[in-house]
Structures are given as structure tokens and as C-alpha cells.
């Protein structure tokens, strides 16, 4: 083939391409482009908001959304004490009649005043979904609006922790919405999103799973008390809050470093060094309690239908190994044998000695022999797509094997796991023996809140223990009138739960948050809130 005739065509093309590149960069790279709006907080939350109904779901992101746009009757302060929020309350001497008086100035985002009828409808819908609410409604004689601002709740028998349950911040707080919306069936999602909270939901800017925008609600009247967790005055100091979802954790970290966003709710521990080296970013622990990670056994099928074998499983496990594999840095986890969470009012660690003391595989092996374990494989479900749940199954599987269990660890995505854990079939027929999940500590601080502490068999949570004693102890807790009495029952519950191995607490961990340093006065609460915070 003859050599082509040389011309300057190639040089011209190269020059043209180079010129284009330079022009594009010059035109587009404007200075200081990265700064966010001074009146808007842009926050990357732990997950995308897809479900807007805070009653139908227990998803944390939806609960957090609930606290933005709805208000609650009562709220828990940082000492776990219920405080008035929308209403004050009085209790009759016999403990049977609770009277709630709405404070003045409460208005829904559509301009309508909040009335007692709205509160009644909202509480009724909540009572159909929430396990604590169901217990109250089991002993409810009547719940009615006595006048526009007064709600009277009459019980057939005393329910001492009623206000604690109403003030709880997880899993489902009783958010107050207009009666016409609250009349939606509790098993269908609501389609209007109007609350009376400090922020208004901007529906036209909502993109499910991508971004949600809130605007300050001008007519919101905050309480005068100092804010404390979910209680006290909710004073909003910015015009807008935008929650955006970033599926890639590295991108969120880069965006915060560059000042394109203001806040990351949860930072992966392995990415912390990048942010800690940035002088404009503050990395901190917002929530003093964090999360509890735990394992749940299936009581319906062998081998864990045998109490001794369940005890052997508990004895085989070592919290320190699980937590170290999950979090790495001991600064972000705590060995904790309390089923109600460490440092909480009901905390007690009876029965957790092996869990917190390094495990006892030899003791477990001996128990297995005594129980006559026949080598039935333990089907252990391992979610592979949720980063906070990938380590526990692997560490636990090895610990169980070390104690003499046959373990069949089955990897699957989280969606498959949540579907399969609802199956009551035998493990070799689509069922299971053990899985792991995590709870925010405020979700497990009381036997009325923790869904695991339910002994009603198939009516209860996955794993389905039938345990009359557990139900008796829960009833005792409901009857307890003082904190001391509650603590006494809680100790019995702790001992019973770990003796029966209702579930296996595997310790507590914390996910640090990160913010730009111009974001100040954030309230340190388990639920990230955007009142009180200032953007300088």
C-alpha cells in the first residue's frame, strides 16, 4: 500500500480539538461554584425517602420525615422523660382517664387549625399499626374529643407507661395529621402530606428516592422551652432543608469536602480519615446511644426449638469479634449485654457474661452434646447488600461452627431476606434458623417498644417464640408505677430473655455524622432534626 500524501489535515484536527477543550474548561470552570445557598441546608441522609406515610412504615427515614412535617402530642427529652409538645396532660387519680389539652396556635400547613378530632383520628390510625399503641387500645374504653382542644382517653384498666409510649421517638411515633387524612386505612399509604410541624413538605420538588425539599412553616409556633431531643422549642433558622440521596458514600464525602453539601447523617467509618483531615468539616457522634446489633433465632423449627441448643448458640457468640468485624475502630462500638441498651434507664446485663466476655465455645460444645444435637444444619441468612449487616453473619457462622454447629450460610439480598424471614416453613423448605438486624437504641429501650420482646407466637415478630412468662412480665411492666418498679421488672425481663434466648444482643455501635463547620447548634438526638440548627 502506498504511503498517504502528507498534508496538514491531522494537525488542523488536533488543534481544533485542543481549542475546544480549552474553551469548554474556560467557560465552565467558574470560581466559588461549590458553595451552597446560605438559607438552605443540603443534607445527605442515610437512605432515600420513598415512603411518605410515617404510620404505615417503621423505616427510619420516613420517621425522620415525619418529625420534619408533623408534630406530636408529647415528646421524649434526652433523659427519656415525656414532655408536653402539642399538648399538656393530666391523669385521674385512679390512672384510668388521661386528658390532653392542645396548646394554642397549632395550625396545619393547609391553614386549618389543629383540633381534638384530628388528634383522635391520628391516634386511632397509629394504634392500629404500632405495637405499643395496640397494647393501649387493648385497654381503651373510649378516646374522644371533649371539645375542640381537649382529648379524653378513658381506659378500662390502668396503663402506667401510657405517656411514655405516646412520647417515644421510634419506631412509630404518633404523628398528628388532619382527620380526613388520618381516616385512611392503616394498611394503605396516605396520599396527602399535611402536618402541623415546623417544616412544610414541598410536594412539587419531591423525587422519590432522590430528593425531598422542606420549607420553613411560617405559622409554626414553637414552645418556649429549650430543645432537648424531640422535646422543647422547635425554632427553625433556615428557609429550606433539602435531603438528597447519594448512593455512593465516597461521592457524599467528596461533596461535603468541596462544600457542595452541608451535612452527612451517617459516614462510613472507613471514609472518616478523609473528612477528619478537612479543617472545614466537623465529624462527631450525634447520638449518644447509637444502634444495637442482634441475632434472632427461629423457635418453630429444629435445632432452635430446643432451649438448650439456643443457649449453646448464645454461648458460642462473642460480641467483641462481631463488633470489630463490623466497625473496626473500637471508638465506634461498645460491648453491651443489656437487651434495653447500655446507659438507658432500664439497662441491666444479667445473663450476658459469655457474650460480653469473649464467648465460651467449649461450654457451648458441651451444651450441644447434652442437648443431643444431631447435626441439623443451621440455615443462617446472610444479606450481601446492606453494609451494616454483612459482617455479623460471617463472624457468627464461624463462631457457631467452632462450637460444633453445622452451619449453612446462605447469601441473599436484603429484600429476599425480609421475604424469607416471614416464612414459617421448615428451613430446608424456604424457611430459616437465624438472621441478624440492627435497631436504634431508642427502639429497644422498653418492653413496650421492642418488637422482639413479644411472646405471642405467630402473632409476634419473626422467630415466633411462644412464651407466657414473657407476656406476664410485659403485663407486670405495664402495671409498674415508678421507675424503680419498672427497673425491677426489666431485670427479670433481661434474665428471662437471655435464658430463653428470645434474641441475642451483639453489642452497640455508632455511625458518626459530619457537617460543614458553618452549620452550628445541631441537637444531639438519635433522630437527626433540623430545627435549632443555624447556618452561618
Amino acid at each position: 500500500m502506498s504511503k498517504p500524501i502528507p498534508t496538514n489535515a491531522g494537525a488542523k484536527i488536533a488543534k481544533w480539538q485542543g481549542g475546544l477543550a480549552v474553551a469548554m474548561v474556560g467557560a465552565l470552570s467558574l470560581p466559588a461554584m461549590a458553595q451552597t445557598d446560605a438559607d438552605t441546608i443540603t443534607a445527605v441522609m442515610h437512605s432515600g425517602l420513598r415512603v411518605l406515610d410515617p404510620i404505615i412504615t417503621t423505616a427510619h427515614i420516613t420517621r425522620n420525615h415525619g418529625y420534619m412535617i408533623y408534630d406530636v402530642l408529647l415528646a421524649s427529652d434526652e433523659e427519656f422523660n415525656p414532655q408536653p409538645q402539642m399538648a399538656d396532660w393530666e391523669v385521674s387519680d385512679d390512672g384510668l382517664v388521661y386528658t390532653f389539652r392542645l396548646r394554642e396556635g397549632l395550625t396545619f400547613h393547609d391553614g386549618e387549625p389543629v383540633t381534638a378530632a384530628d388528634v383522635v383520628a391520628s391516634l386511632q390510625r397509629w394504634g392500629e399499626r404500632d405495637s405499643g399503641g395496640q397494647l393501649i387500645f387493648d385497654v381503651t374504653e373510649s378516646l374522644e374529643a371533649s371539645d375542640d382542644r381537649t382529648v379524653t382517653w378513658t381506659l378500662s384498666e390502668p396503663f402506667a407507661p401510657l405517656v411514655e409510649v405516646l412520647a417515644k421517638q421510634s419506631a412509630v411515633p404518633p404523628f398528628i395529621m388532619p382527620a380526613r387524612i388520618a381516616e385512611t386505612s392503616a394498611d394503605s399509604s396516605i396520599s396527602e402530606h399535611i402536618g402541623s410541624g415546623p417544616f412544610r413538605f414541598v410536594e412539587e420538588e419531591y423525587e422519590p428516592g432522590v430528593s425531598v425539599t422542606y420549607e420553613r412553616f411560617e405559622d409554626y409556633v414553637p414552645r418556649e422551652e429549650e430543645p432537648s431531643w424531640m422535646a422543647g422549642g422547635k425554632v427553625v433558622n433556615v428557609e429550606r432543608v433539602v435531603w438528597t440521596t447519594m448512593p455512593d458514600a465516597q461521592t457524599a464525602v467528596n461533596a461535603l469536602s468541596a462544600g457542595e453539601i452541608d451535612y452527612i447523617e451517617q459516614v462510613q467509618v472507613d471514609l472518616l480519615p478523609i473528612l477528619e483531615s478537612n479543617p472545614d468539616v466537623v465529624v462527631e457522634t450525634r447520638d449518644p446511644y447509637g444502634y444495637q446489633t442482634m441475632g434472632r433465632l427461629n423457635f418453630k423449627h429444629p435445632p432452635f426449638d430446643d432451649k438448650q441448643i439456643r443457649q449453646a448458640a448464645l454461648m458460642a457468640l462473642n460480641q467483641e469479634d462481631v463488633l470489630a468485624a463490623m466497625m473496626g475502630d473500637p471508638e465506634h462500638y461498645e460491648v453491651c449485654g443489656a437487651i434495653f441498651g447500655c446507659n438507658t434507664p432500664l439497662a441491666d446485663d444479667t445473663g450476658s457474661e459469655t457474650l460480653t466476655g469473649g464467648g465460651d465455645p467449649e461450654g457451648a460444645r458441651q451444651l450441644l452434646e447434652e442437648a443431643g444435637y444431631d447435626g441439623t444444619p443451621v440455615v443462617l441468612m446472610q444479606p450481601t447488600d446492606v453494609s451494616s449487616l454483612t459482617a455479623q453473619p460471617v463472624v457468627a457462622a464461624q463462631a457457631l461452627r467452632n462450637a460444633g454447629f453445622e452451619v449453612d450460610m446462605q447469601p441473599m439480598d436484603w429484600q429476599t431476606l425480609v421475604n424469607r424471614r416471614a416464612s414459617m416453613s421448615a428451613p430446608d423448605d424456604g424457611g430459616w434458623n437465624i438472621f441478624f438486624t440492627n435497631w436504634m437504641v431508642p427502639e429497644i429501650t422498653s418492653p413496650l417498644i421492642s418488637v422482639m420482646l413479644n411472646g405471642r407466637g405467630e402473632e409476634g415478630w419473626f422467630g415466633w417464640p411462644e412464651d407466657e412468662r414473657l407476656e406476664e412480665l410485659r403485663a407486670e411492666f405495664i402495671a409498674a408505677e415508678s421507675l424503680e418498679e419498672q427497673q425491677e421488672v426489666a431485670r427479670k425481663l433481661q434474665a428471662h430473655t437471655l435464658d430463653e434466648v428470645i434474641y441475642i444482643p451483639l453489642g452497640q455501635y455508632n455511625m458518626p455524622q459530619a457537617r460543614r463547620d458553618n452549620l452550628t447548634d445541631m441537637i444531639p438526638s438519635p433522630v437527626p432534626v433540623f430545627w435549632n440548627v443555624q447556618k452561618q
Partner: protein, 313 residues
């Protein structure tokens, strides 16, 4: 020609029916449950069952399928089981970022790759050719997220020329759109430049050896006229094919780039829907993707007749 187009469009119908049936059954046979996502971790089995009932997931499969197909024929893509938002609204929100980035990527790729390929073929076995080939192999082999992170580190974090992430609708702020779209578009373009440049080079090498090229040069035509008017046009059919299928791939499969640059596109929509088992969204997206491939192939076939008058249907 018109008859051909009508025949091709009609052929879409059985393709879509088969895709619809396949996708519907695949989803129902996959373990997972949108009711569980909706209800959260604490819901009891009884509560899940009531929600499932309300969502119509307890209906027999054939009833669900007929309901869905009837809805589709009315032009209604349904409502997301999770967010209760109409699927058409969700796709409408998410298709534009993907389309805009795809158009920018393809434009950049064509502008860069075709001259590169032409020069590489023209300077066959010279250092330019080897450089283009090396770039092609690299561009095609390095994972796209690595390129994305490297671009972010250099151009967004070190030099601060562009934002790290995000998307801005061009209708709202065109410069803002370009600022945010340049890095993802260049990231995606590395693969397509590699692909198109290679294809252009190979195709041009075939053509440059033809007699009519020698004749054109003998007539004293300028080299760029020979290269771009005579040779490139004859080499264009395989290049068009690769550009067309590349465009379809860009619409359907850029979820990693969308995640790295935080672009709210349809790739992420589909993946999120799959993880949440949001059946109506997944079904609509797969049908849309299938339809897009059929359409792109049709456009490519028609474009052949414009490039090469010898091709007739």
C-alpha cells in the same frame, strides 16, 4: 421504505408482548416483597399480609397480569407500590438527566473519536496510531467508576474546575448543567471514544486501500476531502451501528456513573426499584428499555440508506 418502517414498527408488538410476559413472570418468581419494604423492619407477618392484600399482591397471577396489560393499553404505567407516585411521573423526572448526559456523551465521543480513528488509520503504524490504540485499550479496560473518581479527584477536588456531583436541568440553568455534566460525560465518553475510535480506524483502514481513494488522490483532491468525504462516508455503516447501540446502552446501563456523580437518572431508578421489588416501576423500565433498543435499531437501519445509497429496503 415507508412499508419497511411500518413493518418494522408492527414487529415491535410481539417483541414487547414477549418482554412484558417474561418480565412479569420473572419478577413474581423472584423472592422479595414490596409490602416488607413498605412496612419496615418491625411489621408483624399479619400486618404484612394486610398490606399485601391492599396492594393487590394476593390476587392470582393471571388477574394481576391482565390488570397490568389492560392498564398499559390505556397508556397508564401504574403507580409505584412504594412511593405511590405515578410511574410515568417518576420516569418523566428521571429520563431527562439520563438523556441529556447521554446526548452530551455521544456528541463528545463522536467529536473526539472519529477524528482520532481517521488520523490513526491515515497514519497507520505511526506513533499516532499506536497512541490511539493504546488509549482505546485503556479506555475500554479501566472500569468507569475508577475513571470517574480520578476525574473527580483531579478536576473537582484539586483544581476545583467543576462540582464533585449533582445535576442541573439545562432548562433551568444551561451553564450549570454543563458544569455538572462535563465530568460524567467525559467519564462515560472514555469508553465510547475508545470503542468508536477503534471501529473508525478499522473501518477506515479497509476503505483507504480501495481504488477510488487512490483515484481521488490522483485527481489532486485535498487530503482532508479524501479522508472525510470519500473514505469516511464509505466507512460509516459500522461506525453508525456502534454509535447507535452505544446510545441505547447509555440510556439503559449507566447506573455506576449515575451513582458516582449523583445523577438522578433512570439507571438508578431501575436498580432502586429492583431492590425494593417495586413491580410497576421495574416492568415499565424494562419495557421502555426494550422499546428503546427496537427504536434505535430502526433508526440505525434507516440511517444506512442515507449514508449508503446502495442500501435499499
Amino acid at each position: 421504505m415507508l412499508g419497511y418502517i411500518i413493518r418494522r414498527v408492527l414487529a415491535v408488538v410481539p417483541v414487547m408482548v414477549i418482554v412484558a410476559l417474561f418480565v412479569f413472570l420473572m419478577l413474581r418468581l423472584t423472592p422479595g416483597d414490596p409490602a416488607a419494604i413498605l412496612a419496615g423492619d418491625s411489621a408483624t407477618p399479619a400486618q404484612l399480609d394486610r398490606i399485601r392484600e391492599n396492594l393487590g399482591l394476593n390476587e392470582p397471577l393471571h388477574t394481576q397480569f391482565i390488570g397490568w396489560v389492560t392498564q398499559m393499553f390505556r397508556g397508564d404505567l401504574g403507580v409505584s407500590l412504594i412511593s405511590k407516585t405515578p410511574v410515568s411521573t417518576m420516569i418523566g423526572q428521571r429520563i431527562w438527566p439520563t438523556l441529556n448526559i447521554a446526548v452530551l456523551t455521544i456528541t463528545l465521543s463522536v467529536l473526539i473519536a472519529i477524528p482520532m480513528g481517521v488520523i490513526a488509520a491515515w497514519r497507520h503504524r505511526s506513533w499516532v496510531d499506536y497512541a490511539v490504540m493504546t488509549f482505546s485499550v485503556l479506555g475500554f479496560s479501566v472500569p468507569v467508576f475508577v475513571i470517574g473518581y480520578v476525574f473527580i479527584q483531579i478536576f473537582a477536588i484539586e483544581l476545583r474546575w467543576f462540582p464533585v456531583q449533582g445535576y442541573m436541568a439545562p432548562s433551568r440553568d444551561f451553564v450549570g448543567f454543563l458544569q455538572r455534566a462535563v465530568l460524567p460525560a467525559f467519564t462515560l465518553a472514555t469508553i465510547y471514544v475508545a470503542l468508536i475510535a477503534r471501529m473508525t480506524r478499522a473501518s477506515m483502514l479497509d476503505v483507504l486501500g480501495e481504488d477510488y481513494v487512490r483515484t481521488a488522490r490522483a485527481k489532486g483532491l485535498r487530503e482532508n476531502v479524501v479522508l472525510f468525504r470519500h473514505a469516511l462516508r464509505n466507512a460509516a455503516v459500522p461506525i453508525m451501528t456502534i454509535i447507535g447501540t452505544g446510545f441505547a446502552l447509555l440510556i439503559a446501563g449507566v447506573v455506576v456513573t449515575e451513582s458516582v456523580f449523583n445523577i438522578p437518572g433512570v439507571g438508578r431508578l431501575t436498580v432502586d426499584a429492583i431492590l425494593a421489588r417495586d413491580y410497576p416501576v421495574i416492568q415499565a423500565m424494562i419495557l421502555l428499555t426494550a422499546g428503546l433498543y427496537v427504536l434505535v435499531n430502526l433508526v440505525i437501519d434507516i440511517s444506512y440508506t442515507l449514508i449508503d445509497p446502495r442500501i435499499r429496503y
